[in-house]
Symmetry: D2
Subunit: 154 residues, 4 copies
């Protein structure tokens, strides 16, 4: 329903803050998406790890990608809630996000995202995220510039 280049352009162009994170698509399924995010100096924290808001931004985008992989580019689909659990300190390196939908309803989509340290993913995820997206009644392929990951919703 959406191609790698198209989704990367949406993230890069439509969401300035997270768009600058350099996120790229690794794989797209129907209702799933795998992304990677390179390490940036300003993600570091004194303990030498990747900070929470960067992980949150990546997970939010990955979940949004999973929604679009299932129903295509949607106007005004917006995040309603996200829960992030931090499980292990990630190394100061690239992060991989594996997102999949557990439910795609007419009005709401729900999915989970596991975040891994790319350089050391044998120990299990560094964070686990669940989230809900609200899908507008007239969901369908909309014009560029109206995609809304991380937007407010109720």
């Amino acid at each position: 329903m959406i191609e790698k280049d198209e989704f990367e352009a949406i993230v890069r162009d439509q969401v300035p803050l997270v768009g600058g994170f350099g996120i790229s698509v690794v794989a797209i399924g129907e209702g799933s998406m795998v992304l990677t995010m390179p390490y940036r100096d300003d993600f570091v924290r004194p303990g030498g790890t990747v900070m929470g808001p960067a992980l949150f931004g990546l997970a939010d985008v990955a979940l949004y990608g999973a929604v679009m992989s299932a129903i295509g580019r949607v106007e005004l689909a917006v995040t309603t809630s996200i829960t992030i659990n931090f499980l292990r300190r990630p190394r100061p390196g690239p992060i991989r996000a594996e997102a999949r939908l557990l439910k795609l309803g007419r009005r709401l989509a729900y999915g989970e995202v596991s975040l891994f340290s790319v350089d050391d993913d044998l120990d299990g995820p560094v964070a686990h995220v669940t989230g809900t997206y609200s899908i507008p009644p007239d969901a369908g392929r909309g014009p560029a510039g109206r995609i809304a990951p991380g937007d407010a919703v109720l």
Copy 2:
């Protein structure tokens, strides 16, 4: 337990990404903190609103401030989980975060943060956040550079 200048310096110096958001302290209580975050161009989203990851970063810092307002600067206190519910589309303007602890235990602190659009806060919060911080056994005033909002934890 912590002063305005000290906390602002911690945020600015220790957490590069969020530190650049220009967050300032409005008020500090015992177990509570009020912050404001100015609007930045790269927070914008096409619909003209403030993006989720910026709101998440502010809330995470506000909750951490509430913990430090109660127990002082702690080494290695880390976020274990955050849930954010997006309630209304914020205007593209400054955001105020009101954080307060609901429980301060020996090992875990739990609190809530309400986020408001400063220019239009009569309609109620734009987002509501709850979160848990893990407090290390030897919590106490530690050296600079080891504060850890948004860090991984279990």
Copy 3:
């Protein structure tokens, strides 16, 4: 929008398991509701406290009551998600739930519930709950027997 007697009857008659908990209404506002639940022997746990599922059932009903206090008895309003944080061990005694809506949208309502040990509420809440209800498009006063707290939803 709804009266004490009517809401108590809904809980008692329509939701057998929780209906048997003996929940009663203390106060109803517009978008808020306060309930109490007496202690029952089978709520006990060996450590001498009230078990989680009983607290969950009470909170779910309280949030649903807050929704009905604002928009009246609605057909098929259903819980979409609930997050419960256990903060203190409640005494084996009655519990009070204070629920209020933070957002009432056309499609979703979001609110919080604080649970207190009635016999010892100075220490703060024993649990804090946030939750979302989905409101059907044709929300309005429906016939008895179709109310749905705790029901599945997306």
Copy 4:
């Protein structure tokens, strides 16, 4: 680390309310547990579905079982938080819970539980649950009667 009979006895004897639900163990792994819960008349709701608090109780017990499958019977391990997302209306029939840990730390364990309608599980889970347990410093095999699923914790 724990056997089927032992865990079923813990649930039945130590947690009266949920113990009466007739929960049985289907499988135990290291850090995972599968349970089933039969249908009971008082789980019904007018729309003909299984009510939320029964699903919550099952998920809470399943997650606790996953913790014990990894570290054995622990004294005073307690639920700190549970998030439940209701995804589909379950049929009025038995429910299967599949729980697995995503992180087992020294102090906290985090896992997820997927709940399925046994008679109709091809459509995906009826609910998805994530939760955190607090593990006491002196975790180990304790005497019967001190296990604490659903107990309050910080």
